[in-house]
């Protein structure tokens, strides 16, 4: 008899625990998303590293260029014939070090905005 009541109690407890878990899932979709992220990138969630995230933010979009390479390329180009700008646009890899004048994404800025067209 007492076993039965104990049994019933534990079932009730288990169901309230389940309910709470379900409520957690229902009430906090963020936690569900966090679990998903944790599954894919375990270290990311456990060590949020506020400072690391912020430093990533501060550096976002910063593009680096090497002034040493740039100056050496300029010196090299002085000895060679200067190629026309259009052919340079195609090769940005290999021997060619991009110079400010012919970085491909810069060209459109010299053209008028399409909003004004």
């Amino acid at each position: 008899m007492s076993n039965e009541t104990e049994g019933t109690k534990t079932i009730e407890e288990a169901s309230t625990e389940e309910q709470r878990e379900m409520e957690d899932k229902v009430v906090s979709p963020e936690k569900v998303e966090e679990a998903k992220l944790n599954a894919r990138y375990p270290l990311l969630v456990s060590r949020p590293g506020g400072s690391g995230l912020l430093r990533k933010r501060l550096q976002k979009g910063q593009k680096y260029f090497d002034s040493g390479d740039y100056n050496m390329a300029k010196a090299k180009m002085k000895n060679k014939q200067l190629p026309t700008a259009t052919t340079e646009k195609a090769e940005v890899t290999g021997d060619h070090i991009p110079t400010p004048q012919d970085l491909p994404q810069r060209k459109p800025s010299l053209v008028a905005s399409k909003l004004a067209g």
């Binding site: 979709p29 894919r40 905005s113």
Partner: protein, 447 residues
């Protein structure tokens, strides 16, 4: 369904769209800022290619008294060029982060435009007359032989085709180590502030070789960095007050009369959060991407990733109003983190009477909230819904279960079509919405 902005029968209509239709959008053409001037007659846009385009509203014609003036191109110029920082081996993007108009003081118009590092004051002036009949030179500019001049000729001003010229009058450079995210003109019309991730500087509009640092949150050890400045704005009528928002969802109000360095705030606005609901994403989505004072100066509005909040400056412990922009994204935060969309910086704006607010979302949707009626509406800026003077149909996102006709499901939203920048005319129900490389102008229906 009633629109938002005024009255129950209010409806928004398409008026104009600017920009190319082609699918392949060049990075340089992406609009990065939109701003009406104080009268609303001028509308400026900046793009990633460093260019500024200013539209001017045509005078309402007497022939069509019921049709509002159209916005047509008034001036366009290259504001910023790409640069290199040789010391740090960094490229400096020419993208225009913000444009702010100066109050008009004479016939010319002036604005401030900024990229990550340099702020420029541009003067836009009109020339519609030219002098003809010079005494000492020919029309083509050649000097006349002085011995052949026998009589005095006084130049006369003749009308010419309108020419609009933009010239950079001031260049405010070398004051920011980090990327400038905001500029704001002070109500004293003499000074303005510029804010980057860690510092805020105060400038005088006439002086370019000096600026005063008024906020510095850089820690001595960068490892201890916990938050960055995300936006800043001057109070609209109290010239000693400004606010700045942070990546932790807080806003600090500072009074420049209190101290030269405003590291200690006068007011600190933060909504208490429920610690049990805290997750990895909590801080990221609480980061404020924009802060704007109401025209009255009594309230301010902040935009974080999922909501817009209106704060009463007299109450620091919680906002007075909270509007959900796209709450359905809360269950998509994992993917939005992976594709970086969770870091998108949406702006927000007030209408002229502070009765309504507007902000953008994804899928080229934008949202408007009426503060009085508490009604809200979702509209779309797209070519498909853009028939001349066509009424915009409200859109609805289906969050689960059965999708009704005309609804769009969350998974079908295009997260590459983001509306980050919107502007509301200071006096009328005319709005400008930037959808990637296109600028849409909508206005209320004239009955």
């Amino acid at each position: 369904m009633a629109g938002v902005g005024g009255g129950n029968d209010f409806q928004w209509c398409f008026a104009q769209v600017k920009g190319a239709i082609d699918e392949d959008v060049a990075e340089a053409d992406i609009i990065s800022t939109v701003e009406f001037n104080y009268s609303g007659d001028l509308l400026a846009t900046g793009d990633k290619g460093g260019r500024v385009v200013i539209f001017q509203r045509e005078q309402e014609s007497k022939n069509r008294p019921h049709s509002r003036g159209e916005y047509n191109v008034y001036s366009t110029f290259q504001s910023h060029e790409p640069e290199f920082d040789y010391l740090k081996s960094l490229e400096i993007e020419e993208k225009i982060n913000k444009i702010r108009w100066l109050p008009q003081q004479n016939a010319a118009h002036s604005l401030l435009s900024t990229n990550d590092k340099t702020i420029k004051l541009w003067k836009i002036s009109e020339r519609d007359k030219k002098a003809e009949g010079y005494n000492l030179k020919e029309e083509d500019g050649r000097l006349r032989d002085p011995f052949r001049i026998t009589s005095l000729r006084v130049p006369v001003l003749q009308p010419m085709d309108l020419m609009v010229e933009a010239s950079p009058r001031r260049i405010f450079a070398n004051a920011h180590t980090y990327h400038i995210n905001s500029i704001s003109v002070n109500s004293d019309h003499e000074t303005y502030l510029s804010a980057d991730d860690l510092r805020i500087n105060l400038w005088h509009l006439e002086i370019t070789d000096r600026s005063f640092n008024i906020v510095d949150i850089k820690p001595a050890n960068m490892e201890e960095l916990t938050e960055v400045i995300t936006a800043a704005e001057c109070h609209p009528n109290q010239c000693n007050v400004f606010v700045y928002s942070s990546s932790k969802g807080t806003i600090r109000l500072c009074d420049m009369r209190a101290a030269a360095l405003c590291d200690r705030h006068t007011k600190f606005f933060e909504e208490p959060e429920d610690p049990s609901s805290r997750s990895f994403f909590s801080e990221i989505i609480s980061s404020i991407s924009d802060v704007k004072f109401s025209h009255s100066g009594r309230y301010m509005m902040t935009r974080d990733y999922l909501s817009v909040k209106v704060w009463d400056l007299n109450m620091e412990n919680r906002p007075v109003e909270t509007y959900q922009v796209h709450e359905y994204l809360r269950s998509k935060l994992c993917s939005l983190y992976e594709n970086d969309c969770i870091f998108d910086k949406f702006e927000c704006c007030w209408n002229g009477t502070d009765s309504a607010i507007m902000t953008g979302s994804y899928n080229n949707f934008f949202r408007m909230f009426d503060r009085n009626t508490r009604k809200d509406i979702t509209l779309e800026a797209s070519r498909e819904s853009s028939k001349p003077r066509g009424i915009l149909k409200p859109r609805k996102v289906c969050t689960g279960g059965k999708r009704k006709k005309d609804e769009i499901s969350v998974d079908s939203l295009d997260f590459n079509k983001k509306i980050l920048h919107t502007a509301w005319h200071p006096k009328e129900n005319v709005i400008a919405v930037a959808a990637t490389n296109n600028l849409y102008i909508f206005q209320d229906k004239i009955n």
